[in-house]
C-alpha cells in the first residue's frame, strides 16, 4: 500500500470563538489534482495556511510521504516539498525576480552568494515547466500574470512536489487561465501533486481529479470530479439551494443619461484612464469586466470623488461633475468601494459614526459644526435595521463586523436617505466596485438583488467586477477595460465569454472606443 503523498488527520483550528477548521482529514496521492472548494469563510485558506506552516493547528497531524510534518514552520514545509502560490502574491516589488526566488535558499551565515548558479537553475526550472521569466527584472515592473509565474517558480525552484495554488485564476484573463492549466498539466506529468483552491465551479471540474468541499469549517463532501455536476458542488458548498437573483431585461428605452464620461484621461502608470468614454442611463446596469489592475480603480475613484479628471469631461444629470465626495453623496450618488476595510469604513470608529460619515456635512446631521448626535444615531439605527447589519451595537467599532455585515452597512448608508420615510430611489447613480468580493453566497445574492432593485427603481448602476459570471449575470450592457482603455458598452447579448476574454487581454476585434450614446435594448 503506497503512502499517500500527503495526509491530514483531524486538523482543527480556532480563532477566538470562531472554528475555522473542524476535524478535517484529507489525503492526496502523487500526480493528483485535488480541488478545495468552499465559500468565503469556509476555511480553505486557513487549512492550506496550516499546511504551509503560516498557522499552527490546535489539533491534528500532517504527514508527508509517511513522515510527520513539524507544525507552524514554513521552513519544514518547504523542506518536505510543499510549495504555496498565495492568492495575494508574496513578492517584493523593489527586488529582482532572481532575488525574490533565491531568498531563503542559502544559509544565512554564508558570507557570499552564488548568483550565477542560481540564475542558471532558475532558467532551467522555468524551461522545464514551460514558464518564461527574466531574472534581472524588478518584480514591480511585471504584469500580474508574470508575477504569478514568479510566485510559482519560487516553489518549483525549491523542488516542491506538492503545490498549493490559492485562487490562482482570480487575477487572470480566460486565456491566461488556460495557459496556467497547461503548466499544471506539465507539473502533473512530472509527478507533482496539486491542491487547487477555487470558487469557480466550472474550472474546478475541468482541472481537478478529485474535489473536497468545506463548509463552515467542516469537510462535508469528497468526490471524483468526473461524474459530479456544478449544481451538486454548489449544493455541498451552501447546504441548501440559494435563489439566484434574476435580472429581467430592462424595459426602459431612451431613458435619460444620468452620468456621462467624454474622453476622460487621468492617472499614470498602472492605474490610469486613457480617453474613456461611457454614458450611464437611468434604469440600467452597466457592467465593466476586466482583470483588476487595468484602470478600474482609477475609474471607480473618479466616480467616487477621490480622484480628479485631468483631461476630458464628466457630467452628472446634465451638469458638470460635482467632484467632491460630500457633494456627490448629497446629489444622489451611492458609492461602494472595492476595499471595505481600508477605504469603506474607519475601523476604529463606532458603527454609527461610520453610518453617517459621508453625510455629516449636511444640515441633516450637523449644525454650525456641531454634530446632531440624536439624528445621526437614529439614522444609523434605521440603516442597520433595514439592511440587517449584525455583529455589534451602534457603538462597537466597525472593524468588529464580518465582511458581509460591513458590506451591508456600506450599501445601506449609500442607499438610505436621511429623511425618515424616503425610499431608496433617491439614489440616482450607484458606483459599485467589486461589491461582492469576499462575501459568502448568501451575502452575494443579497447585494446583487439590491443592485437590481435599485436599477428597477430607476437608478443608473455602474458595476465594476473581475468576476465574469457576475458581469454576465447582472450587466444590461457590458464594457471591458484593458490598460486604461474602455471598449464600447454593448448590450450583454452581443458579448460571449470568449469575446470578453479577448477584450480583457486587449485583443479586441474592431471595437470602437467611443460610446454611441444610444441605448439599444433587446426586446
Amino acid at each position: 500500500m503506497i503512502d499517500p503523498v500527503l495526509r491530514l488527520t483531524g486538523i482543527t483550528k480556532r480563532f477566538g470563538s470562531l472554528v475555522a477548521n473542524d476535524n478535517i482529514s484529507l489525503e492526496l496521492a502523487a500526480g493528483e489534482v485535488l480541488a478545495l472548494l468552499g465559500e468565503n469563510g469556509a476555511g480553505k485558506s486557513t487549512l492550506v495556511s496550516i499546511l504551509f506552516g503560516h498557522y499552527t493547528a490546535d489539533a491534528g497531524q500532517i504527514s508527508v510521504n509517511g513522515q510527520p510534518l513539524p507544525p507552524g514552520d514554513p521552513r519544514a514545509a518547504l523542506a518536505a516539498g510543499i510549495g504555496m502560490v498565495h492568492q495575494h502574491f508574496t513578492l517584493a516589488d523593489n527586488l529582482s525576480v532572481l532575488d525574490n526566488v533565491m531568498m531563503g535558499t542559502e544559509p544565512l551565515w554564508q558570507p557570499f552568494t552564488r548568483q550565477r548558479a542560481a540564475r542558471g537553475k532558475l532558467l532551467s526550472v522555468a524551461q522545464q515547466f514551460g514558464l518564461t521569466v527574466e531574472p534581472k527584472a524588478l518584480v514591480g515592473s511585471l504584469s500580474v500574470g508574470e508575477r504569478q509565474r514568479v510566485e510559482i517558480l519560487k516553489a518549483l525552484y525549491r523542488g516542491a512536489r506538492i503545490l498549493i495554488l490559492d485562487e490562482p485564476t482570480a487575477v487572470l484573463t480566460p486565456q491566461e487561465s488556460e495557459a496556467l492549466f497547461a503548466v499544471l498539466g506539465k507539473m502533473v506529468a512530472q509527478g507533482l501533486s496539486i491542491i487547487f483552491i477555487s470558487h469557480k465551479l466550472g474550472e474546478v471540474l475541468r482541472v481537478s481529479d478529485r474535489v473536497a468541499v468545506l463548509r463552515g469549517g467542516k469537510l462535508v463532501a469528497q468526490a471524483a470530479a468526473a461524474g459530479t455536476t456544478q449544481a451538486q458542488l454548489a449544493q455541498w458548498m451552501v447546504g441548501h439551494a440559494i435563489a439566484e437573483p434574476v435580472r429581467q431585461p430592462t424595459a426602459h428605452v431612451g431613458s435619460p443619461v444620468v452620468c456621462a464620461l467624454q474622453s476622460v484621461s487621468t492617472g499614470s502608470g498602472r492605474e490610469r484612464l486613457a480617453q474613456v468614454s461611457l454614458s450611464l442611463h437611468a434604469g440600467e446596469i452597466v457592467a465593466i469586466a476586466g482583470v483588476s489592475g487595468n484602470g478600474q480603480l482609477a475609474l471607480a475613484e473618479l466616480l467616487c470623488g477621490t480622484r480628479q479628471v485631468q483631461q476630458g469631461r464628466v457630467t452628472y444629470l446634465g451638469q458638470p461633475w460635482p467632484g467632491q465626495p460630500a457633494r456627490l453623496v448629497a446629489q444622489g450618488v451611492a458609492r461602494i468601494p472595492e476595499d471595505r476595510h481600508a477605504v469603506g469604513v474607519v475601523g476604529d470608529l463606532p458603527l454609527w459614526e461610520n453610518a453617517v460619515s459621508e453625510r455629516l456635512r449636511t444640515p441633516a446631521f450637523s449644525r454650525w459644526g456641531w454634530v446632531r448626535r440624536q439624528q445621526a444615531r437614529a439614522y444609523a439605527q434605521r440603516v442597520m435595521q433595514a439592511f440587517d447589519v449584525r455583529g455589534g451595537g451602534a457603538t462597537s467599532p466597525a472593524r468588529s463586523l464580518s465582511g458581509g455585515n460591513m458590506q451591508k452597512l456600506i450599501l445601506g448608508r449609500a442607499l438610505t436617505q436621511p429623511e425618515p420615510g424616503a425610499d431608496h430611489s433617491a439614489a440616482r447613480l450607484i458606483v459599485a466596485h467589486q461589491p461582492t468580493w469576499g462575501l459568502d453566497i448568501g451575502a452575494v445574492a443579497y447585494v446583487q438583488s439590491q443592485l437590481i432593485a435599485a436599477r428597477d427603481a430607476g437608478a443608473a448602476v455602474l458595476l465594476i467586477s473581475d468576476d465574469l459570471d457576475e458581469v454576465m449575470t447582472l450587466g444590461d450592457r457590458i464594457a471591458v477595460m484593458h490598460a486604461g482603455e474602455l471598449t464600447s458598452a454593448l448590450p450583454a447579448m452581443q458579448w460571449s465569454r470568449a469575446s470578453i476574454g479577448l477584450a480583457m487581454a486587449g485583443l479586441t476585434a474592431g471595437a470602437s472606443m467611443a460610446d454611441t450614446g444610444e441605448l439599444v435594448h433587446a426586446a
Binding site: 477566538g16 470563538s17 499552527t56 507552524g72 514552520d73 467616487c304 470623488g305 477621490t306 467632491q324 465626495p325 460630500a326 453623496v329 458609492r335 468601494p337 481600508a342 477605504v343 469603506g344 469604513v345 474607519v346 475601523g347 476604529d348 470608529l349 459614526e353 460619515s357 459621508e358 455629516l360 456635512r361 450637523s366 459644526g369 456641531w370 454634530v371 448626535r373
Partner: protein
C-alpha cells in the same frame, strides 16, 4: 513568544494597566536610587512630599503643571490625527518670543495701547507664532511626504538658536547687565495669581478651560470627527468626504498654537522674561503626558499634574538627600514605555510557543 488578540478586554485589566505600569516603573527607579546609595523608602517619601505633601508643594506642582498641560494638549490633538508634532519645545519658545515682542517694555514703555487689547494681541501673536512654525512641517508632510518627526525635531534646535540670537541682540534686556534674558514683559500684561502667596497663576484656568474645549470639540463637532477619522484611517476619511489636507493644516495650527500659548503663559504668569532655560523640556514631556493620557484631553490635565508632581518632588528630594533630579525624567520615560506595554497586554494575550 507571540501575541494573540483577546476576545474582549476585561474592565479590570484596563483599570489595572496604568497602575501596573507605574509600579513597574517605580521598581526600576528603586534600583537607580540604590545605585546612588540613598534609602529607597525615604527617597520616595520625600518625592511624594515634595510634590504633593504640603500646600506649598501642591502650589509648586500646579504651577509646573500649567505649561505641561498646554504642551500635552498640543501633542494630544496632533497625535490624534497622526501628525507627530515633536516640535512643541520650539513652538513654546516661539510663542514666548512673540509674547515678549508684542508685550515687552521696549525702550521703557512698550506699545502704548489699552491693556486688554494688548493682552489679546499678545496671546494671539503667541498662538500664531507656534501655529506657523508647525505649519511648515505639516505642509511638507501632506504635499511632499516628508516625515514630520525629523523636521519638527530639527526645528527645535533652529528655534533655540534663533531665540539665543534675539536675546543677544534685538531683544536684549538693557538692564540685565549681560545676563541673557529678554526685555521684561509689561507688568500690566502679567497673569494674576490664582492663589495668594503662591506662584500659581490664572494660566491654570486657561489650561483647564482649553482642555475642556478640546474634549468637547473632539467628541461633539464635525472637526473632531474629521481629526479622529484621519488619525485612524486617512484613506477611508477621504472617501467619506473629510477634507484631509485642510484638516491636517487646522490640526497643525491648533497644536502649534497651543504650544505657543504655553510659552506666552509661562512668560506672562511665571517668569516675566524670556530666557533660554525657561523650558526644561516641557515640549517633550508634553508628548509623554499625552501618550499616558491616551490622547484624551481631560486625561492630559491629570497626567500633567502627575508629571509635574514628580518633577517638583524630585527637585525637593534632591536638595534633601542628593539623589540626582534626573531620576524624575527616568521615571517619566519609563512610565511611558510601561504604560504602552501594559495597555497592549490588555488587548493581547501572550503565548509562549510558536
Amino acid at each position: 513568544m507571540r501575541l494573540e488578540k483577546r476576545n474582549q478586554s476585561s474592565a479590570v485589566a484596563m483599570a489595572l494597566a496604568p497602575v501596573g505600569a507605574v509600579g513597574f516603573t517605580l521598581l526600576i527607579a528603586s534600583l537607580l536610587v540604590l545605585w546612588a546609595g540613598a534609602p529607597v523608602g525615604q527617597t520616595y517619601a520625600l518625592l511624594l512630599k515634595g510634590g504633593f505633601g504640603s500646600v506649598f508643594a501642591l502650589s509648586e506642582t500646579l504651577t509646573r503643571a500649567i505649561p505641561l498641560m498646554l504642551t500635552g494638549l498640543a501633542a494630544a490633538v496632533a497625535f490624534r490625527a497622526r501628525l507627530f508634532n515633536i516640535g512643541a519645545e520650539g513652538q513654546l519658545y516661539m510663542g514666548a518670543l512673540a509674547a515678549v515682542v508684542v508685550g515687552g517694555l521696549h525702550g521703557g514703555t512698550g506699545l502704548d495701547w489699552p491693556t486688554p487689547v494688548l493682552f489679546v494681541l499678545m496671546m494671539a501673536a503667541a498662538a500664531l507664532a507656534g501655529a506657523l512654525l508647525l505649519l511648515g512641517p505639516a505642509l511638507m508632510k501632506t504635499r511632499l511626504g516628508v516625515d514630520e518627526v525629523v523636521t519638527t525635531l530639527l526645528l527645535n534646535f533652529i528655534v533655540l538658536l534663533l531665540v539665543s540670537w534675539m536675546l543677544d541682540g534685538p531683544m536684549k534686556d538693557p538692564t540685565a547687565m549681560g545676563w541673557p534674558q529678554s526685555v521684561a514683559l509689561n507688568p500690566a500684561l502679567e497673569l494674576s495669581k490664582l492663589i495668594e502667596q503662591t506662584r500659581v497663576h490664572t494660566g491654570l484656568l486657561w489650561g483647564c478651560a482649553l482642555a475642556v474645549l478640546l474634549w468637547l470639540m473632539m467628541k461633539y463637532t464635525v472637526l473632531g470627527f474629521d481629526i479622529r477619522a484621519i488619525g485612524a484611517n486617512a484613506r477611508a476619511a477621504a472617501f467619506a468626504g473629510v477634507p484631509v489636507t485642510r484638516t491636517v493644516v487646522l490640526v497643525a495650527m491648533l497644536s502649534g498654537g497651543l504650544a505657543g500659548l504655553a510659552g506666552a503663559i509661562e512668560v506672562a504668569g511665571r517668569t516675566s522674561y524670556l530666557t533660554l532655560d525657561m523650558s526644561p523640556g516641557y515640549g517633550y514631556s508634553g508628548i509623554v503626558i499625552a501618550m499616558l493620557a491616551g490622547l484624551h484631553p481631560l486625561g492630559v490635565v491629570l497626567g500633567s499634574v502627575f508629571v509635574a508632581g514628580v518633577l517638583v518632588g524630585a527637585d525637593s528630594m534632591s536638595r534633601a538627600i542628593g539623589v540626582p533630579t534626573y531620576i524624575a525624567d527616568v521615571i517619566v520615560a519609563a512610565s511611558l514605555i510601561s504604560v504602552l506595554v501594559a495597555t497592549l497586554l490588555t488587548q493581547y494575550r501572550v503565548r509562549w510557543q510558536a
